[in-house]
Symmetry: C2
Subunit: 513 residues, 2 copies
């Protein structure tokens, strides 16, 4: 099986010196090489091909962009910021290059598209490859799309959840310790109850090591909001210390690597504006399991323009959450809530943080609905955690908030995480007023979220919307309805353009005489 | 609805001078901008965001890569080769930049994932946006994935076919003119009958303006093979002239823009190694319709390792092809053929071209099976086109091949397209011999295709495999089974690595005494 012909060069000559290209391609690792360099020619690489870049036993798979100009010398290969970081490269490192072998786990994604369910082996292979950055962005898009909608059944969801937990770090708070957690299945702008609930629950001596995610398709996630108030990117050890000291934390899940593939998947879901019920359940439950939670309360707001549109859908999702949790040894309780309009006044990280502070500090401007929702959730959790007899949760939660204990606990947690900050205020603001008199009859949550996103949220933390009216309010022509907040002029204009073509953000119905 | 605050700068200041970045990102347009330039800061752009780049009323949507180093000055934005070409930019052009509005047609892709069928409106919106390069690579991946497998029904397939025809150019050969065409639903390495069939059919005075595609996931498409023999990238006008002069052509469909979205979709399907039956049918039928074909013969090879694995699947695909054709006024006939082993000796563009020449020139080394298959197809087409009475097609086809008329016609067509070339021979060759004696009992077409692809086919045109044995052949230990051909050392090594771990390319069964 031998007799080579013409393969003269030694493999040792197949190297280039690495240099930082100084290009941020976000998460996808990219390698830049000249079309006429010896490696591209001898290996037969072509643009957008997948190349394994190796130095000293370490390697990374990167997408090849071919340099057709004079950006690089013939002896160099450039790496994007992400490839540079993943490979832990240094300027001038000698690297070799190979065609990346096809990612074998993609065959499971292909099988899924032909109706073959994803078993545990498949889930482990896919999630493992994603966590090792072996999927290109288009492969991630294919996986996310294959799982989209309700294309994952219970067993598949359990398998993916297990695989996601296995490839990250875990907290272990000790045998028999009761660890509480909550989660909201987004879609309701401004529904930022978590910081309030954590403060109330922890003030009553229960353990609640809360990790939150950043926004997927919404203008803010709890991690985005909390980041305007304190440090949320805690290391694994730092988070453990905060919880041991305060009984709780309010950290970003991504930085503790509890479910490292989740952020990778979420970024592609966000770019495609695509959700998957099974992937959502796997994402939620895997993080709770990795955080060591034993009792989890999940809030599912339902409304015609919320993420979940009907009670039937909410029930389906609830079952999937409860059963996936149960299969993995976790008690999950569901609260289906009203999702017909945004919660509080602010939509966007800093504006929501302002509302949270108002509720905790019991100021006059505190939004009543945010307070009510937080109290209802905290009440259930106090009962789940046996901090009070059944039926007494609401009284205890209200007392904890009103006597200032919750605020004290919140400040203590923020101090432990690195100090309490004041949320920033956006430099650009624009008032939107009523074009006619009448009653506020309808909010379109999706359009509100989109509007806040276009204004820059969550990346621009002070951007978003400040709502000044609620369902049922009577408004005069010219009355202030909302204020748009943005950090950049272009984003404000972009949001205003969108608003002009989507006046259905809220609907004013004229009163009949 | 007014009262802006803080939006001081004039929009006119929001420009940068364009420069060619000299980076080939293949099809996805990319724009490079400094993280600290005034446009990125005022618009709030972030890495991998979608940006509309505008000059003088023209614009292109590009993916943003953020320059974190010193590649660009603050006054400049770089464009990838594809963005540069699409925008028809010139060095120093003054461009403005906006957030690209979300691609509205993606909502139809999302709907499809939730089980909502793609209607004509959806298909037109999606295909229109793809043809205008409004989809990013990950959005293309989501669309391709949503259509993958058998996820498109007949109505959806018809809708996509219509939309694909509408957005390209059309040939019109005149009222009532009979225009023949053929197609093979790939998956069988080396099955390069088209050039032979076109020569026989055209030599008998029938009109056959053949356009072919490049390989999707296989090591060669007919366009790849023909390109080693003559020019296949003909303009619309040039193709019309060739057909009017010769009654036929052998052109690449992509260059005449008959179905311009097809190549864009195919590139992503290839990168994901993903096929879609409906998309395949839409791809085939749309090209035939745009080429003005009225009668089309489609060859579906069936075998355990062919693209179509069972007669049932072939029949399903056949029905979809016939019905889609009928819905759009085209007569489609199907030939289900044996797909148990590769056809001819060569696999890869140049090696297959060599086999085609051998059959047309009736040399001793001409592969008998390729000749037989081509004659069977030509016979059916001669009957479809009424060049002979029913039942007389095979005799006429054989006569046309054996008396040299087909070869003469083939040479004339190639001359009309720009001259007949000699296919190149690969500089690197490697022999693979039998590791034991026995009978060749099985070919794995998929592994053979993969092996030829890894050796560089179709991009490296002379790369591929030359097979020296066929099913049922008795071989001795050490006997030559096949020769690998490659144009680059790296590709040869890559193919050999793969071969070592996939010895099931062909299976030798020991004889029992």
């Amino acid at each position: 099986m031998n007799s080579k012909q013409g393969t003269a060069d030694s493999p040792d000559e197949n190297f280039l010196y690495l240099t930082k290209a100084g290009i941020d391609t976000h998460q996808e690792p990219v390698v830049y090489m000249r079309s006429d360099c010896h490696v591209v020619r001898s290996e037969g690489f072509s643009a957008q091909g997948r190349v394994r870049v190796c130095i000293d036993g370490r390697s990374v798979i990167a997408t090849l962009n071919i340099v057709t100009g004079e950006l690089l010398s013939h002896q160099k290969a450039g790496l994007s910021d992400s490839a540079w970081k993943l490979l832990k490269a240094k300027e001038g490192d000698k690297a070799t290059f190979k065609h990346a072998l096809p990612v074998e786990s993609m065959s499971f994604v292909r099988g899924k598209l032909y109706g073959k369910a994803l078993g545990l082996e498949a889930a482990r292979a896919i999630i493992g490859d994603i966590s090792e950055a072996r999927y290109s962005d288009i492969q991630l898009a294919a996986y996310v799309t294959a799982c989209a909608g309700n294309n994952l059944n219970l067993d598949e969801t359990i398998a993916i959840t297990k695989a996601m937990v296995e490839c990250g770090e875990h907290f272990d708070w000790g045998e028999g310790v009761q660890v509480l957690d909550k989660h909201c299945v987004g879609g309701l702008p401004g529904n930022r109850t978590t910081p309030i609930v954590v403060a109330i629950v922890a003030a009553n001596g229960l353990m609640m090591p809360k990790t939150s995610s950043r926004a997927i398709t919404s203008p803010a996630g709890t991690a985005d909001t909390m980041e305007t108030l304190t440090t949320v990117a805690l290391s694994f050890e730092r988070m453990r210390e905060v919880v041991q000291e305060q009984g709780a934390c309010l950290a970003w899940g991504g930085s503790v690597s509890l479910s490292p593939t989740d952020d990778i998947i979420i970024r592609v879901e966000r770019a495609l504006d695509l959700d998957s019920e099974g992937q959502l359940v796997a994402s939620v439950i895997s993080k709770k399991l990795a955080a060591g939670s034993t009792h989890v309360l999940i809030d599912i707001p339902v409304g015609p323009t919320a993420k979940v549109r009907s009670v039937e859908l909410a029930q389906m999702l609830a079952d999937l959450l409860v059963e996936t949790g149960a299969a993995l040894g976790m008690k999950v309780q569901i609260l289906i809530s009203d999702g017909s309009q945004p919660v509080g006044h602010g939509v966007g990280p800093a504006l929501e943080a302002r509302d949270v502070l108002a509720v905790l500090q019991r100021t006059k401007s505190a939004p009543e609905d945010l307070r009510e929702r937080a109290l209802t959730l905290a009440a259930t959790m106090l009962e789940m955690g046996n901090a009070c007899p059944p039926g007494r949760g609401l009284a205890l939660a209200t007392q904890t908030l009103d006597n200032g204990d919750a605020w004290k606990k919140f400040v203590a947690i923020c101090e432990a995480q690195g100090g309490l900050k004041t949320p920033p205020v956006a430099p650009f603001q624009h008032s939107i007023t009523a074009h006619k008199a009448g009653i506020v009859a309808l909010f379109n949550n999706r359009v509100i979220s989109r509007l806040a996103s276009l204004a820059g949220a969550p990346n621009a933390v002070s951007a978003g919307i400040d709502l000044h009216v609620r369902l049922g309010d009577k408004v005069e022509k010219g009355q202030l309805l909302m204020t748009l907040h943005a950090e950049a002029r272009g984003e404000m204009e972009y949001a205003l353009d969108f608003y002009q073509s989507h006046l259905d953000v809220l609907h004013i119905e004229e009163e009949f005489v």
